[in-house]
C-alpha cells in the first residue's frame, strides 16, 4: 500500500514546494534532491506502515521550567 506514496516527486513539484517556502533551487539542485530523497522515502513508508495507533511521538525537549 505504501509504495505509491514512496515515489519521489517530480522536479516541477519539488520546485513548487520550494517556491511556496520562498526558496528558489536550480534544476541541478532539484535533481540531486530527488536522488537524495529516493534513499529515504521507501524506508519512511515502511516505518509508517509499522506503527500501531498507540505509538506516540517522542516529545521535543522540555526545559526544566517548561516542564513544571
Amino acid at each position: 500500500m505504501s509504495s505509491k506514496f514512496s515515489r519521489v516527486s517530480s522536479v516541477e513539484a519539488l520546485r513548487e514546494a520550494a517556491r511556496a517556502q520562498g526558496v528558489e533551487p536550480t534544476d541541478a539542485d532539484l535533481e540531486a534532491v530527488r536522488g537524495f530523497l529516493a534513499t529515504i522515502l521507501p524506508t519512511l513508508a515502511e516505518i509508517e506502515d509499522g506503527f500501531g495507533p498507540d505509538t506516540a511521538p517522542v516529545a521535543l525537549f522540555l526545559s526544566d521550567q517548561e516542564a513544571r
Partner: protein
C-alpha cells in the same frame, strides 16, 4: 604527553601557562600547511590570556592548558565561520557555555578548528576553507564534521579539543584520526553558543588522546545551563575519580550485525580482537541481536533534516548559492520532505527507545565498530566497503545514527590499524551513564597502547 599529564606539569610549576600556550601555537603554525586543521588561530589573544592566568590565584583543573575548539563553537571576539562563506565574517559577541566553562577551569583556547560546512557532513572538506588532512596520511580525510579536532589531537598540537556530534561528528574523526572521542548523552553538555545542526541530536564532546583526558574535559563541560533549554538537570559525577579499571562482572553486548555485511572485514576483525581484550579483563561479553537499530538510520534523518532546514531557512531563501553542493542538497531535502516526516521520525524513536531499554536491562554497555572503513582519500565520495561500492556518507550511518537517535553516550577508542590507518571501537552506554563508557574505555587503554601511537605528521 596527555592532557592530564600536561595539566599536572603546569600545576606543579614545571611549565608556565605562557610557555605551554606558546609551544602549542608554534606547533599549530608548523603543522598548518600539512593539515589545514585551523580556520582561525588566536595567537596574540591566547598568549595574553595565558599571561593573565599566571597571576590568577584560582587554579582550575585545566589551569594553563592550551585547547582548541571546532569552529561552530563561539569564543567571544573571535569569528565563528562554521567553515561556511555565509558566516565567514561572523564574530561572536559572547562565549558559548562550553568555552566559558573551559576558561573557568583555566584552559586557554588557542584557535578555531576546521569542520565540514555548518557541521553538516562527515568529511571536513569545506569548499570555502579547504579540506582538513589526516595526520596519518595527508591525502586522506580526517572524518567529520569535527575533522580539525581529530587532526590537532592526533598530531599533538593540543592535548584536548572540542567537537560537536549530531550524527557521529565527534566519534568519526576520533576514529579516523586514531584518538579518543566522546559524544555525551543528549542534554548532558549545554549547546548554547554553538551553531546548531539539529536541536534534537546536537551535542558537544571532547576529543583527546585518552579516556582519562576525556573524563577530565567532560567533568568541566557537563551540567545544566539555565539559559539552554536543551540541557538537562541531572547530577554530574566526578568522572576522573571514577575510572576504576576493574571490569569483572561488567556485561558487554556485542552488536553482531555491525560486524557483518557492509564493513571491511579487516576492520571487523580488528574490533573483534579488541572485544576479546575486554573479555580478558573479566567482562562478560555476549553477542546480541539488535537488527531493530537499523530503523534509526532513517529515523534520525527524518527529524534531523527538517530541523536543519528550519535552522537555515532564512539563508536558503537569500543565500542558497553560497552553500557547498553537498550541504545545499541535504538542506533542500530537509525542506522538501513531507511535513509528517518529523512526526514519523519521532514515533520511530519512541519504538526504538522501548526496544533499546530492554537491551540495557541485560547489558551495561554495547560495543561495535565505530566505522566500517579506514579514512578514505580526499574526494573519494564512493568507497569500497567489504566488496560493495557505497557512498561514504551512507556507509557510516548504521554505525553512528542509532546511538545519536537514542541520545546515548558513545565513545570511539583507537583499537588497531588497517593499511597503516587507525580503526576505532565504539563503546555505548545508557543515557547519562558516561561513567561506565569511560570506565570501559580507560580499562581497555590500560592494557593496550593503540592510543599512544603517533602519526607521521606530528607537530
Amino acid at each position: 604527553m596527555t592532557l592530564t599529564q600536561l595539566a599536572g606539569r603546569i600545576r606543579r610549576g614545571e611549565l608556565s601557562p605562557r610557555d605551554a600556550v606558546a609551544d602549542a601555537l608554534a606547533r599549530a603554525e608548523s603543522a598548518q600547511a600539512a593539515l589545514n586543521a585551523f580556520i582561525t588561530v588566536r595567537g596574540d589573544e591566547a598568549l595574553a590570556e595565558a599571561e593573565q592566568l599566571e597571576s590568577h590565584p584560582d587554579r582550575g583543573p585545566l589551569f594553563g592548558v592550551p585547547v582548541a575548539v571546532k569552529d561552530v563553537i563561539d569564543v567571544a571576539g573571535t569569528r565563528t565561520t562554521a567553515a561556511s562563506r555565509i558566516l565567514a565574517d561572523n564574530v561572536a559577541t559572547e562565549d558559548s557555555t562550553v568555552v566559558a566553562r573551559l576558561r573557568q577551569a583555566g584552559a586557554v583556547v588557542i584557535g578555531k578548528l576546521n569542520t565540514h560546512e555548518f557541521a553538516f557532513g562527515a568529511s571536513t572538506t569545506s569548499t570555502h576553507f579547504g579540506p582538513a588532512r589526516n595526520p596519518w596520511d595527508t591525502d586522506r580525510i580526517c572524518g567529520g564534521s569535527s575533522g580539525g579536532s581529530g587532526a590537532v589531537v592526533a598530531a599533538g598540537i593540543v592535548t584536548g579539543a572540542l567537537g560537536t556530534d549530531t550524527g557521529g561528528s565527534v566519534r568519526i574523526p576520533a576514529c579516523l584520526c586514531g584518538v579518543t572521542g566522546l559524544r555525551p548523552s543528549t542534554g548532558r553538555v549545554p549547546i548554547r553558543g554553538v551553531v546548531p545542526v539539529s536541536w534534537s541530536f546536537d551535542t558537544v564532546g571532547p576529543l583527546a588522546r585518552t579516556a582519562e583526558d576525556c573524563a577530565l574535559l567532560l567533568h568541566v563541560l557537563a551540567g545544566v545551563d539555565g539559559a539552554d533549554p536543551t540541557s538537562v538537570r541531572v547530577p554530574v559525577p566526578t568522572y576522573p575519580d571514577l575510572l576504576a579499571p576493574d571490569m569483572r562482572g561488567l556485561r558487554i553486548g556485542v552488536v553482531s550485525h555491525l560486524f557483518e555485511g557492509a564493513i571491511d572485514p579487516r576492520v571487523a576483525e580488528t574490533v573483534e580482537t579488541a572485544v576479546s581484550e575486554l573479555a580478558g579483563l573479566g567482562a562478560r561479553v555476549e553477542r546480541i541481536d539488535a537488527l531493530f537499530l537499523r530503523e534509526a538510520d532513517v529515523a534520525q534523518q527524518l527529524v534531523m533534516l527538517p530541523e536543519a532546514a528550519a535552522v537555515h531557512l532564512p539563508w536558503l531563501r537569500t543565500r542558497l548559492a553560497e552553500y557547498g553542493d553537498d550541504v545545499r542538497v541535504r538542506l533542500l531535502a530537509g525542506l522538501l520532505l513531507p511535513a509528517t516526516s518529523v512526526v514519523t521520525g519521532q514515533r520511530s524513536r519512541r519504538r526504538l527507545f522501548e526496544k533499546a531499554a530492554s537491551l540495557f536491562e541485560q547489558h551495561d554497555v554495547l560495543v561495535a565498530p565505530e566505522m566500517p572503513i579506514v579514512a578514505p582519500r580526499i574526494g573519494e565520495d564512493v568507497v569500497d566497503v567489504g566488496g560493495e561500492r557505497l557512498a561514504y556518507r551512507l556507509s557510516l550511518i548504521p554505525f553512528n545514527s542509532p546511538w545519536s537517535c537514542l541520545g546515548l553516550p558513545a565513545a570511539s577508542v583507537p583499537c588497531g590499524f588497517v593499511d597503516g590507518l587507525p580503526v576505532g571501537m565504539a563503546i555505548v552506554g545508557r543515557r547519562f551513564d558516561e561513567t561506565t563508557v569511560l570506565q570501559v574505555a580507560h580499562a581497555f587503554q590500560q592494557v593496550t597502547d593503540w592510543h599512544e601511537r603517533t602519526p607521521p605528521v606530528r607537530a
